[in-house]
Amino acid sequence: AMGTGTPPSPSGTAFEETRLHVFTLDYPHVQIPFEITLWILLASLAKIGFHLYHKLPSIVPESCLLILVGLLLGGIIFGAEEKSPPVMNSDVFFLYLLPPIVLDAGYFMPTRLFFENFGTIFWYAVVGTLWNAIGIGISLYGICQISAFGLTDITLLQNLLFGSLISAVDPVAVLAVFENIHVNEQLYILVFGESLLNDAITVVLYNLFKSFCQMRTIKVIDIFAGIANFFIVGIGGVLIGILLGFVAAFTTRFTHKIRVIEPLFVFLYSYLSYITAEMFHLSGIMAITACAMTMNKYVEENVSQKSYTTIKYFMKMLSSVSETLIFIFMGVSTVGKNHEWNWAFVSFTLLFCLIWRALGVFVLTQIINVFRTIPLTFKDQFIIAYGGLRGAICFSLVFLLPPAVFPRKKLFITAVIVVIFFTVFIQGITIRPLVEFLDVKRSNKKQPAVSEEIYNRFFDHVKTGIEDVCGHWGHNFWRDKFKKFDNKYLRRLLIRENQPKSSIVSLYKKLEIKHAIEMAESGMISKVPSSVSLSDYHEGKIKPLSPTEMENMREILTKNLYQIRHRTMSYNRHSLAADANEKQAKEILIRRRHSLRESLRKTNSLSRERPVLAFC
């Protein structure tokens, strides 16, 4: 409270000078951080509010509720001050609010599934968005030509620009809705991957048409420049991301002395990749996604457990806050005087968005199914089409339109808002019952067991082997090749103590730790060790354990309380798997081994073999 007090006013006599202020109020000094904090606090309180009534989030996705809160707030501000509430600043959105969400999504993306379906995702993202943009643009232009609607002043290029900004499927909205409905991973990755990858083409189309609108003549060379631009935007963004991802991994190799700032590097490098890409007008979303996916594998092995937890929690927190703020701002910005309502334009926009999306998905799927081994069924197609939600990205893009070139900007804003509200509310709410009605395959939330991991691994090798035998370079071939390259060069360079780990072994060790903890807690640690391996070493068969022990073990195994570091896909941003207390676990293991050896000596029934269930 030591801010600048009011300066003593120059007064006539000495008796009228102002005394020392006991209590001052200096709002302008803290206005900006104060308001930001209030907004974030409000957003978080709203979230708590929703979850109080536990059924609510399952019926209505949070995004809808947040928009409603925003609308309410906007209405209050509008009513109180009689002017339009602060519109979400596009810069704030693109530079501060969007990156955390994409980072979170990219960091926890199931890479294997993503790359297996990469062709399809790419196909939908690029060709699909192009199809939608041009289709919507041209059909809207056709509507505008009808003079009865009073839209004849909107040119073809303006329509195409509008089409390109409204056809982009939005990752924020998709995440918000798909999180709760738990469709199978394949479907999820198709829709979500598409929403990420289409950023490249959206950026290109938006800038292209915007420049075209402002240029006098358009030559053929400009169109070719546009196509070249697409490749540069996409590939450039990815390259920046990968490069910075490697740098980040390399940096974390040396951070073992200063563990405390390890998480910082992850966030700094990924944010750096985003803004570097934005600096060159490349695709920031693809950059940050590529950075996160690259960084993930190596950083994980270099950082400490605590840093890893911090990274995970902080990332989820940031993305959660961002998402909430985005939706609230969308609600707030809707209220105000930025609108121009035209029945024809708005309703036809909505109609065309839906029609072209459905058509696009259907036609594209017929083509891509030829190249896929597992063709996409009609149900899948329906969910993909239905899950094409629009969100804050097109919202911000439309606010960025220069009003000088677009005299009907307000009309566009209104149309965009209507489409967003429709997709988020109607499609968002109805997708869950539809998924259940259509009986779409849901995700298998079962935690893997050791035997499953073994089977999967075994199976991968069989598949690779067969592919080698019949001479086919399938996915497994490339994945194998990359793994070899990775093991030979990349891991040596980027990871501190490079011990090639087997996922089976790490999984097994985690299981044993958990098992040991449970046994310690249930007081079984001093009892007879599992006689399974001890006796069958001689007989080659498994003898049952003592009933209590068997019961205990079976309970543990069937409860599937395995905590596996990172390898499960975590889509739900509200819950994070807890981490085992490693130090305590190791203590327990040491004690257990001692007790095993003790009981061995006591029973004296076996030779001096080491108990088979011990491990390092």
Partner: protein, 210 residues
């Protein structure tokens, strides 16, 4: 062309085009060095297979008579193109127009193939020793791991299998090994039909042999 006269196994005729058969035949000739049959030694000429930790089991699977749908048991010494195609047929992708029964049979076939790979002594059960063998082979590519780890992992997995398949075991019961029915139970959650396939679509991508 000698292969033209060999009858194509009936299962295969459903899904595979003649183009794919041609591709496989070309590959067969490469492996057999233009002979009519392949022996185990011919598989040594595939360079990438060397790095595969379960190479032995894969090669073995080609000569396993149970996979070749022959009534007898044991190992064949050599296989001809028809047998080669039979083995490949286990890896064909599912089709859209298959009904429930066909899918089920399809799935059982694929799982039986895998089961035979685990069950090396052909007694219809996967015993603890065989399971250990598999895990050891799987982890053999990793020089840092001790045999003890592999063993304990196999034991843990076997216990899991026992708990899933048999449930409550009495004090005198002994769990002999995983039978095929138990095996089916364990793979219930995983949709093997969609994963276990190899695309022989591309005729151009032929990896070379030595």
């Amino acid at each position: 062309v000698p292969w033209a006269s060999a009858p194509v196994p009936s299962l295969f005729s459903l899904a595979v085009t003649s183009e794919q058969i041609e591709h496989l035949h070309r590959r067969f000739k490469q492996l057999s060095q233009d002979q009519l049959t392949i022996r185990k030694e011919n598989f040594d000429s595939i360079p990438d297979l060397e790095f595969n930790p379960i190479r032995g089991k894969i090669v073995h699977a080609f000569f396993d008579k149970r996979n070749l749908r022959q009534e007898s048991d044991g190992l064949a010494d050599e296989i001809n193109f028809e047998d080669f195609l039979t083995i490949m047929s286990y890896f064909r992708p599912i089709e859209m127009n298959m009904d429930e029964e066909q899918l089920d049979r399809f799935r059982k076939e694929k799982l039986k193939f895998l089961f035979h790979m685990y069950d090396s002594d052909h007694d219809g059960k996967i015993t603890l020793q065989e399971y250990r063998n598999v895990v050891e082979e799987l982890l053999s590519g990793n020089p840092h791991l001790e045999k003890e780890s592999a063993r304990s992992i196999a034991d843990g997995a076997m216990m899991e299998a026992a708990s899933i398949c048999v449930g409550q075991m009495g004090p005198d019961q002994v769990y002999e090994g995983i039978t095929f029915e138990d095996f089916l139970k364990m793979w219930q959650g995983i949709d093997i039909e969609t994963k276990m396939h190899v695309r022989f679509l591309n005729v151009d991508t032929i990896a070379h042999c030595y």
